[in-house]
């Protein structure tokens, strides 16, 4: 046990205690603690096992860069793996478990992997487990998965809710350190709408470690609170910077107290006119043997635990540094009363440090958790050992360039910092403060003020607010780049993925010398911490191996996300029933009230069938189909696309749009219409009705309604802009009801007024307007079933009244509704192509519709439909099939072959159903040389079902091939 709580200090509420569990053990902390600070305060040193070697690991950092302290939080549906203990705010009742250890954290049998390290070096899974191939899936992969990896995701449903929100602002400020606070106040004071995002629960960043400027921090926060157009978001991490100044953030709302009614997290999509990036800097690691041992901590983090949480991370400390910043940690630890604090500074000269024991020109060559091996820079025999349970490390500071880099700005190299800094902006952004390489609170605040003013000015707010800034600190001595101290043992560059300095050199030796190749070969930087502390160290070691400088090697591309994001947050409320929009016809409630089985078709809900008591699906469907063939039925066909077309050139436009002629259509008549794509393939079909000389209404299939309208818009706007016409969708305006069957006329004649429905006055394909009660309706004598049939269209707010009126009128003929599946039975019997026949691979001739295509005049698809392969007479053509044995069933998708064992396909089955006329299964199929197979036998084979059915090839028109019934 080494860490402990100091008697005073920190932004914690010592008057209250919070109980939590770690690996089952009950511990206590205070409000204001993170899980990490509370664990250290309780003397917990070992918090996890490493990814590959299962080495013991302790808390290394105090923030998002943490590679070691990954824990599983919560239970059941709230279980969340890979949470960084440094980022988890403590709450009463928190439950956390360590990960990747078996059977327990202290005694991990998998640690033997560390001894077998030679075998599982970088790229080991590309080499070791290659042979035999069959072993991969059954043996190697499960073995690796058990041994490696992090926490486990839960399969339970997440009980919490999430929300997604769109935000807009003039100036977005990322980070609330001295630069961020100053930028937000400057921009807000100028009158801009400002959003300030701070990932921490407290505002201030580095100010929280500087008691001397606490007053300034509080004054700045108070000033921001008075500005109505400044929104301050805490616990909000900006995770990605996308095109058009669009950024993504996750705001944690009730992670601490789940189930309180608020969403747990809010996903924010922020569109900002200008962005100020002030996310600060991250301290970098130094590679040396044992730099992953529990007890190693980043020097800045040790200061955070002191100042922010009132926690000392150890009792006796060595501070290993190559720059001045770690001296503040050494000073703080000494002031906190640690037994011994020794500074090991790699540089020949250091800053004035009265009272501190400092070894200059020295380096740490090893650490075993209790003893630090110290020697003169460059090695030699004069090594000494210093007892210490805390080894603080500072290899310098890297400006956090990830968001700037994601925005498209290339990084520049700062020789002074030995680190990349943001380069010239590409989008409307600028970095400020430590994020662009400045050091010191005063300098950062001044830079933030300038950046905030400039951002506001560019967003159109020129007012210049002024406020006092903290004083500048004296200049620091230069950092001396130090990437690695070589020695015996593993020196890590990526602690989360267990990548060592030797792995980087191995990658180079094996030819993976490009930084992006080395990254993928070694997995360096690929863990959830994205190499924040060791990424540059690995790059520098690669540079040395290549004989180049780190700036020549560069860093891998920065990509979203800067920190992991829960899928639930992206989904927001769009889960379960609210996953995607549902479209309902005006008759939906009627269907639901009558216990209709509904079927989703795209966004639509459509009536599938209407079962009566005791009926199974097929019984109901076949009853409905028989009813239409023998009596009368009605069907809700409102989902058909309907487009109103008007204007002097409407007829000419439709003539070019459809493959068959439309100018010849008379007023008061409807016509089948076939539309091709530009490439000559069938696009869609429907009917065109001429309501007036310059007024048409056309229908499309349900599925292609939006695509057809878009196709029309494209041609009207760009191809034939000279045509004078207007059109718009009226799908939602008109409810449409099919009334089909021999008694359909008798039914409608009872209720339709003002329109003579007799066969002579209103023949097949006639269109007219009449009244049903007080409701104006359009009547179309068209048929999809092959029976005498009408479609009745009425404004959809009257849909139920019309539907009920038809039901009442047809009662004497035992009318009842029929659904989508019975409609399918009827159209397959009739040989009408639909869904699978219009699948984007058939020509008009393939479907037996070649005769209706215009011989003269142009239309969309004409030219390309004439290509030789499109006109090839051997192309598969629409045919009917039925099993030779009436007892057999058919399968959609089955292939047609001459012998049951043949693998030479002549075509495939597109639609199947149970015919009510033939009382057996029938199907539509596309068959090569279809005419020559008529009346002959083939085999329909479905290897998926292990079925072979002998079938007879027929005409696709199983019912009324002369089309007489529709004309009676």
């Amino acid at each position: 046990m080494s860490g402990y709580r100091l008697p005073h200090g920190g932004f914690i509420d010592r008057s209250r205690r919070l109980a939590f569990r770690f690996d089952g053990k009950l511990l206590e902390g205070h409000p204001g603690d993170t899980l990490a600070s509370a664990l250290i305060a309780n003397g917990v040193k070992l918090v996890g096992r490493s990814f590959k070697y299962h080495r013991p690991r302790g808390i290394l950092t105090a923030g998002a860069e943490e590679p070691n302290a990954l824990v599983e939080l919560g239970e059941e549906g709230r279980a969340e793996p890979n949470s960084k203990a440094t980022e988890v705010e403590l709450f009463d009742g928190l439950v956390a478990r360590s990960q990747n250890r078996w059977p327990s954290l202290a005694f991990d049998l998998m640690a033997i992997n560390g001894l077998a390290g030679k075998m599982i070096s970088a790229g080991f899974y590309y080499k070791t487990f290659m042979w035999p191939a069959a072993f991969w899936e059954k043996l190697y992969e499960p073995l690796i998965r058990r041994a490696a990896g992090l926490g486990r995701a839960t399969y339970a449903t997440d009980p919490d809710t999430y929300e997604a929100v769109n935000d807009h602002c003039d100036v977005l400020v990322v980070g609330s350190g001295p630069a961020g606070l100053a930028a937000a106040r400057a921009a807000g004071g100028a009158g801009a709408r400002v959003i300030l995002c701070e990932r921490d629960s407290l505002l201030g960043g580095a100010l929280l470690l500087a008691p001397a400027v606490e007053g300034w921090r509080q004054e700045m926060i108070a000033a921001l609170e008075t500005m109505p157009d400044v929104t301050v978001l805490k616990r909000a991490n900006v995770f990605g910077y996308y095109d058009h100044n669009c950024l993504g953030a996750i705001e944690k709302l009730s992670d601490g107290a789940p189930g309180a009614g608020e969403p747990r997290q809010r996903y924010r999509v922020i569109r900002a006119k200008q962005v100020v990036l002030a996310p600060g800097a991250t301290e970098r690691l130094i590679a040396f043997p044992g730099n992953d041992r529990p007890g190693v901590m980043m020097a800045g983090a040790a200061l955070v635990y002191l100042r922010r949480f009132g926690v000392a991370a150890g009792r006796s400390a060595v501070v290993f540094t190559n720059n001045d910043s770690a001296y503040a940690t050494a000073r703080g630890l000494k002031d906190a009363g640690l037994e011994r604090v020794t500074v090991i500074d790699a540089r020949p000269t250091g800053p004035q440090a009265p009272g501190l024991a400092v070894r200059l020109a020295s380096e740490v060559a090893g650490f075993d958790g209790r003893r630090v091996e110290v020697r003169r820079r460059g090695g030699g025999a004069n090594a000494e050992t210093i007892e210490a349970d805390l080894l603080c490390v500072s290899g310098g500071w890297n400006p956090n360039v990830d968001l700037a880099s994601q925005s498209g700005a290339r990084t520049a190299w700062s020789a002074e910092l030995a680190s990349p800094i943001p380069g010239a902006p590409v989008q409307a952004e600028r970095s400020a403060g430590a994020a662009r390489g400045l050091s010191g609170i005063g300098a950062a605040a001044r830079d933030g003020l300038t950046a905030g003013r400039e951002a506001a000015r560019l967003a159109g707010f020129a007012g210049a607010a002024d406020f006092p800034l903290p004083e500048d600190e004296p200049p620091a001595l230069a950092v001396e780049p130090l990437w690695e101290v070589r020695g015996r043992g593993k020196s890590f560059v990526d602690l989360q993925h267990d990548v060592t300095a030797d792995d980087i050199r191995l990658a180079h030796r094996e030819g993976f010398s490009h930084i992006e190749h080395a990254k993928r070969y070694t997995t360096h930087n690929m863990a959830t911490d994205q190499g924040k502390i060791g990424g540059l160290v690995g790059a520098a070691i690669l540079a040395e191996a290549r004989g180049e400088t780190p700036d020549a090697v560069g860093l891998p591309t920065f990509r979203p996300y800067t920190a992991p994001v829960a899928f639930g947050a992206f989904a927001g409320r769009a889960t379960g029933d609210r996953f995607e929009p549902i479209r309902r016809t005006a008759l939906h409630d009627w269907h639901i009230r009558h216990e209709t089985v509904m079927q989703r078709a795209g966004a639509w809900m459509r009536p599938f069938y209407y079962p009566r008591a005791g009926e199974d699906a097929w019984t109901a469907i076949l009853r409905e189909a028989r009813m239409v063939r023998s009596g009368v039925g009605l069907c809700d066909v409102s989902t058909l696309g309907k487009i109103d077309v008007q204007g002097p050139d409407a007829a000419a436009f439709l003539d070019r749009l459809y493959a068959n002629a439309m100018t010849t259509l008379s007023v008061g008549r409807a016509r089948y219409g076939l539309m091709l794509r530009e490439d000559g393939i069938v696009f869609d079909d429907g009917t065109v009705s001429r309501l007036g000389l310059e007024h048409f209404v056309m229908t499309t299939t349900t599925g292609e309604a939006a695509a057809v309208l878009e196709h029309m818009d494209f041609h009207a706007q760009t191809v034939w802009p000279e045509l004078d016409l207007t059109f718009c969708s009226v799908t939602d305006e008109w409810a449409q009801i099919s009334v089909a069957g021999p008694r359909s006329r008798d039914t409608l004649m009872k209720i339709v007024a003002g329109l003579d429905l007799s066969n002579a006055a209103f023949p097949f394909m006639a269109v007219g307007e009449g009244m049903i009660g007080a409701i104006p309706a359009r009547i179309f004598r068209i048929s999809f079933s092959g029976e005498l049939a009408y479609e009745v269209a009425a404004p959809s707010c009257f849909a139920e009244q019309i539907w009920e009126a038809i039901l009442e009128a047809g009662r004497a003929f035992a009318i009842a509704p029929y659904g989508l599946e019975a409609m399918g039975v009827l159209r397959i019997e009739k040989g009408h192509p639909a869904g699978h026949e219009l699948g984007g691979f058939t020509t008009a001739a393939d479907l037996g519709l070649g005769r209706i295509v215009k011989k003269a005049g142009d239309f969309v698809g004409r030219i390309l439909a004439e290509r030789p392969a499109m006109a090839d007479p051997r192309r598969p053509r629409l045919s009917g099939i039925r099993p030779a044995d009436k007892a057999h069933r058919l399968r959609g998708g089955a292939h047609l072959v001459t012998e049951p064992t043949s693998s030479e396909s002549l075509g495939h089955v597109t639609s199947v159903t149970r015919s009510v006329e033939l009382e057996q299964w029938i199907g539509l199929a596309l068959i090569e040389e279809a005419e020559s197979w008529r009346g002959k036998r083939l085999w329909a084979v479905s290897p998926l079902h292990d079925e072979r059915v002998e079938v007879i090839v027929t005409s696709p028109r199983f019912v009324d091939p002369e089309n007489a019934r529709v004309r009676v």
Binding site: N166, D724, E733, C797, A799, E800
Partner: protein, 199 residues
């Protein structure tokens, strides 16, 4: 969310359907100017430019597409409003009845902007979307007209009638934690929601 939550008296938000007569007016080729003059002569109203809507004594007009406006009046007999607009636009544009095709849903209350921000990407801040503003966009994944109706703020959402229930359900769910009451449309207008409630 229970029905009682939605109808509690302190509800900060109200969602209700507005029965309206609607006609889509589309200008014929090269006749937008003459159409605007004809509408001004008939209804005393200037057809608004993109992103705007205007209210008149008899008719409101909302820009909805290039050369296209949604004209709006009090509920009337089937086809009557369309005929009125068609007569005014004779030879200059097409008037297509959308009284049953579109639903106008009002969201009113102080948190309305926060609710809309959960599924509408537009900037609805008063500086960006002031009086007279209208836009065609997506709300809750469906194509929707959005306009600022008053400074409460109240917003009108104009959506395909077949998506009206989907949108109302989304609005009620997004509004639940602010407190919301729902008023279905009065007869004879067909409500988008079944009488027994939305869920």
């Amino acid at each position: 969310m229970s029905a009682s939550d939605r109808s509690r008296p302190e509800s900060a938000l109200a969602v209700f359907e507005r029965p309206r007569s609607l006609a889509l007016l589309i200008a014929r080729k090269d006749k937008a100017d003459r159409l605007a003059a004809a509408i001004r002569a008939s209804f005393g109203l200037d057809l608004p430019p993109p992103g705007r809507w205007v209210t008149g004594a008899q008719v409101d007009a909302t820009w909805i597409q290039p050369g296209g406006w949604l004209l709006e009046g009090e509920p009337s007999a089937p086809g009557a409003f369309r005929a009125l607009v068609a007569a005014a636009a004779e030879g200059l544009g097409a008037a297509v009845d959308q009284s049953s095709g579109r639903s106008v849903i009002r969201l009113a209350g102080a948190p309305a902007r926060a609710v809309l921000a959960t599924f509408c990407r537009l900037d609805l801040h008063p500086r960006a979307f002031g009086p007279g503003s209208a836009a065609m966009t997506r709300v809750a994944h469906v194509v929707c007209g959005v306009r600022l109706a008053d400074a409460t703020p109240s917003f009108d959402l104009i959506v395909a009638s077949t998506y009206a229930r989907w949108l109302i359900e989304e609005l009620l769910e997004a509004s639940a934690r602010h407190g919301v009451r729902f008023e279905p449309a009065l007869k004879p207008y067909r409500s988008a929601m079944p009488a027994s409630g939305p869920m």
